[in-house]
Symmetry: D2
Subunit: 136 residues, 4 copies
């Protein structure tokens, strides 16, 4: 079912960092990689914390790396997890991606066998909350 | 467009706490109210923090009140915000609701004029990440 | 070593909600109770999430309950956990308490046998970051 | 009062990313840089989100970059903010640093004029909560 030919460069980047995830609590390794409009690639893994809410997801790490480099436009994001089930970005990460997404942003959820499902931003977070809601 | 006759009890509960939101940074007041399977109602407002990521959303407060009472099943959740735009739960809150949702859980997004849009859990957080993804 | 006579009312409130913690991932139950300047008591338990960073700590739940009631001044906070080790509020919770603390605010860390250690806010979070750092 | 000769390499790295912080809500730019035991340097800036609790602090970004590179030991961390006041890591970040700290880990809080105050991990987060509290 998975298609290993979708975004092979991002998938490889996501897999490379997935192995470095700090996950002593869940043992659930996640990697994420972003390609921005400029073509640059940024990646991140999940970093858990003994105080669970203080952990950060793989997507957050990739986004932080992107911003640190002065880039703010996500064209494509790939996540990769282990397991037989489809694992998509959690709601918190969907919101984090949305901050830097445009209507054409694509999110691909991959497993060990390649990309399993692909989404537009709006498919993953329909009728989203965003910066315009805070405008006074 | 808004329908003030949808879930009037929950809407009133959400409005009552909305006024108490601690929002010195965004000035964006949000209230949320839950009805569980037992028929009990729990509510919460957003609580911001000078260290922004340490704030908590209204939905999180309502869910914490629900769990504190020993209840874990959300039948209906209503959020209420000010402003002309439709404001829905952020992605993080969609994930928090999902932890305690069932296929029939309804989420209603309200403004000052009443409920503006209604969603099932799956409509707000399609193909969601959840506890089954962590099963080893 | 623990002193069961310190803040018995708050300790009882914290223990009552501790039992209701939603902790399928860590199995680490925490309860927290606050007394505000008005004398009112608010409590909360930790609420974990399959997406770990979306969970909320017990202190966050108690603070959300406090704000929902229109109160914003923490005089005393008690946390209770199981285990032989002293368990204090995580750094995130110290920051959350600090938002509503004053110089005399006391935080007591309890175990099954009662309060084990007591702190002022400044002892738990010295030289803290706070609202004044954001003033423009 | 500030000492510009303390950790000049880390301070420069933190300043370089501080300029890239995504802070449309607070307009409070923060940069952080870490040196690990191996001597490698990692940096990050704060990344805010319209849903405030979904933002991430500069320290979290630097830590995510460190883990992505397969490193997990923080020897020194420097944060830099603007403003006349001393700005230290928030409690949440103190907890995040603590996950990868050792007794000799140093944290330096800098302003535009250089490092203003220096702390050991234990000074910033005394009697901390950590992994050992979760051991069953």
């Amino acid at each position: 079912m998975a298609d290993p030919t979708v975004e092979p460069e991002l998938l490889a980047a996501a897999r490379a960092v997935q192995a470095n995830a700090h996950v002593p609590y869940s043992e659930f390794h996640v990697g994420a990689a972003i390609r921005t409009r400029s073509g640059a690639v940024f990646s991140g893994c999940n970093v858990e914390n003994a105080a669970y809410p203080q952990g950060t997801c793989a997507e957050a790490g990739a986004i932080a790396a992107m911003c640190a480099a002065g880039e703010y436009d996500i064209d494509v994001l790939v996540t990769v997890c282990d397991g037989d089930l489809l694992s998509t970005p959690c709601g918190g990460c969907r919101q984090k991606i949305r901050e830097f997404a445009h209507p054409g942003t694509m999110i691909h959820a991959a497993g060990p066998d390649g990309v399993r499902t692909s989404y537009t931003m709006d498919e993953l977070l329909p009728d989203s909350f965003g910066p315009e809601n805070l405008a006074r």
